[in-house]
Structures are given as C-alpha cells and as structure tokens.
C-alpha cells in the first residue's frame, strides 16, 4: 500500500476528485450537470489531435488540447442556446455527439496508422488508467487543479451570486456572461485533469456524484463545496486502491463506483434528508393517524387534558 507508485497515483486521483467534486457543485446548482458530460466527451478529439500533430506524450499539451476542444464545445452549446430556438438538451447532445464522434474517429485512425500509438497509451483516455500516471502527470494535475480551485476561491461571492440569481447579479452590474465563461472554464480545467485516470466516458460522474452526495448533508454552499471536494478525493483514492487490488481493472470505473456509493449512501442515511429516516417517520405518522381515528371513534374515549 505504501509503495511510492501507489502513493503517486493516489495523490493524482485525490486531486482530480477534490477539484471536480468542488467545482461540480456549481454545475449541479445551476442545473447544468450535463455540461460535465459535454466537456469530457468533447475533450477526446483535442487530446487525439494534439498527439497526431505533435506526436507527444507529454501531459500538458495533451490536456491543453482536451481543454481546448472541451471549451470550444461548451461555447458552441451556449451560442446555439442563445441564438436559436433549439432547446438546451438537444444542443448539448447534438454538439457532444459530433465532438465525441470526431474523437473516436481520430483515435481509431491513430491506432491503425501511427507506429508507436499503443505505447503512447492513448486508450487510457477512454476509461482511465491511473497506474500509468507519472510524476509530471500528477504535477500538471496539481497545477491545473490549483488554478481551477484558486479561481473558485477568488470569485467565490461572484460565483455564488451567479448560481443563485443571475438576473439579480446582472441588475447589480456584474458582467454575468463573462462570469459564466470564467466558471465554465474552471469547470473545463477540473474535468480535463481527470481524463487520464477516469477517462472521458465516466468523468462526468465525478462532477455530479460528490456534489449530489454533499447536498444531502448540508444547507450551506461553503460546506457543500468543501464536503464534495472531500468526497471526491476519498472516492479517487479508494477507487485507485480498488483497481490495484483487482487485476486488470481500469481505474475510471472503480473511482466512479466509489463516488456513486458515497452518493447513494448519502441519499439513504443523511440526517433529515435521508430516505432511511424519512420512511419510519411517514410510517409512524400514518400509524398515529390510524390510532387517532380509533380513539376518536370511541365516544368520550379521548382523555381531556388537565
């Protein structure tokens, strides 16, 4: 457990969980959970294109390429929604399918036509393989994640206002569209750093699950974001460990399963909101009203107070 590669890989997974969990809260609260899906799927063509053009395996250019197409896709969706009558979900799905399709096509092309493609380990971008993380990968994850988290902390009050009441924000003179783009860009960074260990297919779960779990436990935005970050980090480490234990499992699904387990657990047992606590209360209420109706049915049967 304490071997250095595991520690490195776990650190990478913790960073990705922390950042995507924290920033994912804003996507959830703004009812833009699907955006995580869009960004991660649309990152694939960027990664492939950078590899094809520069034949590099260095993490920074690859992630930058992914961020670029992910961002481009998001902005395309926003443009379409603003300037046409196409509904948001249709715009999301359509645009995402195009970007992801191009990504898969590029990947297939690379596998068949580029000599050292398999060594480049590009297939890890689909389902994630944290075990292939190197020092420099984790370093870049930390840097990009730091930028995303730093932006969130710096613009905390602005993001909060934007998420709660964008119209009021605009009436105060805040440049709502620009804030929107900044928040979106931070989210793109958060997603891109998870591409190597979780992969484009499942990364959106890391945006949604920790936040959904955290929302069950608190009614404050600050606590929700902190808790979601913690849940994300825990899921990252636990998932990495799990995939090491079971031979030949990709880390992506393992990490996502852990995050989902936390979410399901929270939905069941969280105080007040948890389903487990609500069922007995409902049952008791029904039971009590039944008892009441029985006592009132007896004439003069109910005891007078005092």
């Amino acid at each position: 457990m304490s071997d250095p590669t595991f520690l490195l890989v776990a650190a990478g997974s913790a960073i990705l969980g922390l950042v995507s969990g924290a920033l994912g809260c804003f996507a959830i609260l703004r009812k833009q959970s699907l955006l995580g899906d869009v960004v991660s799927h649309a990152a694939l063509p960027g990664v492939m294109l950078v590899f094809l053009l520069f034949r590099t395996k260095a993490p920074f250019p690859l992630l930058l390429g992914g961020a670029a197409t992910g961002w481009l896709c998001t902005m395309t969706v926003l443009r379409i929604v603003r300037s046409t009558r196409i509904p948001p979900d249709t715009a999301l799905c359509g645009t995402m399918a195009v970007f992801f399709g191009v990504g898969i096509w590029l990947q297939t092309y690379i596998q068949h036509h580029v000599r050292d493609a398999s060594q480049a380990g590009l297939d890890r971008f689909l389902f994630g393989q944290a075990a292939t993380l190197l020092d420099r990968d984790v370093l870049w994850m930390a840097i990009l994640g730091g930028v995303a988290l730093g932006t969130m902390l710096l613009l905390w009050k602005e993001f909060k206002l934007l998420s709660f009441d964008p119209e009021f924000a605009a009436s105060l003179g805040w440049p709502v569209r620009r804030l929107d783009v900044i928040l979106m860009s931070a989210l793109v960074l958060a997603i891109v750093i998870g591409l190597q260990s979780v992969g484009v297919v499942l990364m959106s779960a890391m945006v949604v699950a920790p936040g959904a779990a955290a929302r069950q436990w608190t009614d404050r935005l600050g606590r929700m974001v902190a808790l979601a970050g913690t849940f994300g980090a825990v899921a990252g480490v636990a998932g990495t460990w799990l995939s090491e234990q079971i031979q030949r499992t990709p880390t992506g699904p393992a990490i996502v399963l852990c995050a989902t387990a936390i979410a399901v657990g929270s939905i069941l047992v969280a105080p007040r909101r948890g389903l487990l606590w609500r069922f007995p209360a409902i049952w008791r209420r029904r039971h009590r009203s039944q008892l009441n109706s029985e006592t009132t049915a007896i004439p003069g049967g109910s005891p007078q107070p005092r």
Binding site: L29, K31, L154, L155, W156, K157, E158, K160, L161, S163, F164, D165, E167, F168, A169, A170, S171, L172, G173, W174, R215, T218, D219, R220, L221, R223, M224
Partner: protein
C-alpha cells in the same frame, strides 16, 4: 427631478413586440404602480429599465443618467419564482448579496455589510429567520427576504416585480408601510401590482400597460372604466359594479 424616464421604448423577444413605443416618466419621491393584464409586458418593462433586456429601440434613463452610470442607484426585486429556493443558502446570506454591488470584484462582505444586512432584516421583521435555509420559509417570508436584499442596497430608485404575490394581508400591510417610508425619505418606488382594488389606496401614480401605454398619471385619472376596458379588453367586474350603470353594459357586451 425625474427618477425614471422611458422614451420611445420598444422591446421584442424574437419577432413579437412585447412593448411598443412606451413613453413614461416617474418623478422622484413617488410610489408608482405598473398595472396591466398577464403578458402585458410589465416584467419586461422593469427588466429593460434595470438592463436585463435590451430594447429594440428607445431608451431608459435613471435620475438623468444612462443606466450604465446609474447601476448603484437602482435596486431590483425580481419575481419570487425566478430563483431556485432549494439553493443551499440562508436568509442572512441572501440579504448580504444586496451588498455585492458596492463591494466590487474579489472583496468579501465585512463588518459594515453584515451590520447593514442585520438592520435591514430587522426592518422587514425577519431577524429571527436569519439563519434559516431559504426553502424553509413561507411565501411571504421569501418575499420579505427579497425586499430586504433590495433595501440593503440603499438605492434611491427601487423596482419590484409583484412583491405582493402570495403574501397575506398582514405582510402586505407591513410591506406597504415600508414602501411608504421609503417614499417619505424621498426615494422612488415602482411596483408591478395585480390587485386593481388596492392600487389607488397604496400608490400615488400608476402606469396602465398592455403592450402599449394606455394611460399614466395619478390613480384617479388613470383608472377610469374606459382606460381599463382598453387595457383588459373588458372592465374588470369589481370596477364595473362601482362605476356608472352604462359600464355594466360594456362588461356584459365584452363577456358575451
């Protein structure tokens, strides 16, 4: 001094014009209502004045300044159902958001802003709910929270979209008292209102709107059966009964 001056204002969503060539002036220190049927463009007019909707033609000026120079001078109370009340935040936090305009980029609310938020909460009688999650409020309490958020801005011009929606009689009276006090301090308050029966009681002036401006001015001059028929397509029953006999004929005519 003119608080709000709207000139030749035309607004459209897509092709359909929603406001057509509106001219309207509100002097300072006045409590003014905007009245009209559903879909008349009342919310749109307010949103255009505070800069949320861009007009096709015409302009709105605040205290003789274009909007971009007068941001600090207006406070906007949106319709209550315009936000997600399940958002993880408290009453106090929402009120504090009213200070975000004066704070500017990056700065967090400090002691001064917190003090102001507390005082405003006290004014609207919501002190004891300060740390409540906003979902756990009644409609009237949510409305008061929104009102407090606007009051904390200390703006000379306030624009409110249906602040009496879903509010009980006691709260309505309390809110009216607050609005009157603001007016007596020399501020200007514009309110989208739905209850024709109370317009004349609560407000000094009224704008009667249905895409076009039907009439504007002191309540007694504007709320005539003829004007109301133009705005609503028929004389609202309450008015028809109070008005002269022949107007009942109009009602029946329009209804049948």
């Amino acid at each position: 001094m003119i608080a709000i001056q709207v000139e030749d204002l035309t607004v459209a969503y897509g092709e359909q014009p929603v406001l057509w060539d509106i001219d309207w002036k509100v002097p300072t220190g006045v409590l003014s209502a905007i009245v009209g049927p559903n879909g008349a463009g009342k919310s749109t007019l307010i949103k255009t004045i505070v800069g949320l909707v861009r007009p096709v033609a015409g302009s709105a000026r605040i205290l003789n300044q274009p909007l971009r120079d007068a941001r600090r001078k207006i406070a906007y109370v949106p319709q209550r159902n315009s936000v997600d009340w399940d958002f993880p935040t408290t009453v106090f936090d929402v009120v504090l958001m009213g200070t975000y305009g004066e704070l500017g980029w990056f700065r967090r609310p400090g002691r001064r802003q917190r003090q102001a938020a507390w005082e405003t909460l006290r004014q609207v009688g919501m002190e004891e709910f300060a740390s409540r999650q906003i979902r756990e409020l009644s409609g009237g309490q949510q409305q008061r929270t929104f009102l407090a958020r606007a009051l904390v801005q200390q703006a000379p011009v306030l624009l409110m979209d249906e602040p009496f929606q879903g509010v009980d009689a006691v709260t309505e009276q309390a809110v009216v008292q607050i609005l009157r006090r603001l007016r007596d301090e020399g501020r200007t308050v514009v309110v989208v209102h739905h209850d024709l029966a109370t317009v004349a009681e609560y407000f000094d002036e009224v704008l009667l709107l249905n895409v076009r401006r039907i009439a504007a001015g002191p309540c007694a001059d504007v709320l005539t059966p003829e004007n109301l028929r133009q705005a609503y397509g028929r004389v609202p029953v309450l008015w028809a009964n109070a008005g002269p006999g022949k107007e009942e004929g109009v009602t029946r005519e329009a209804g049948g």
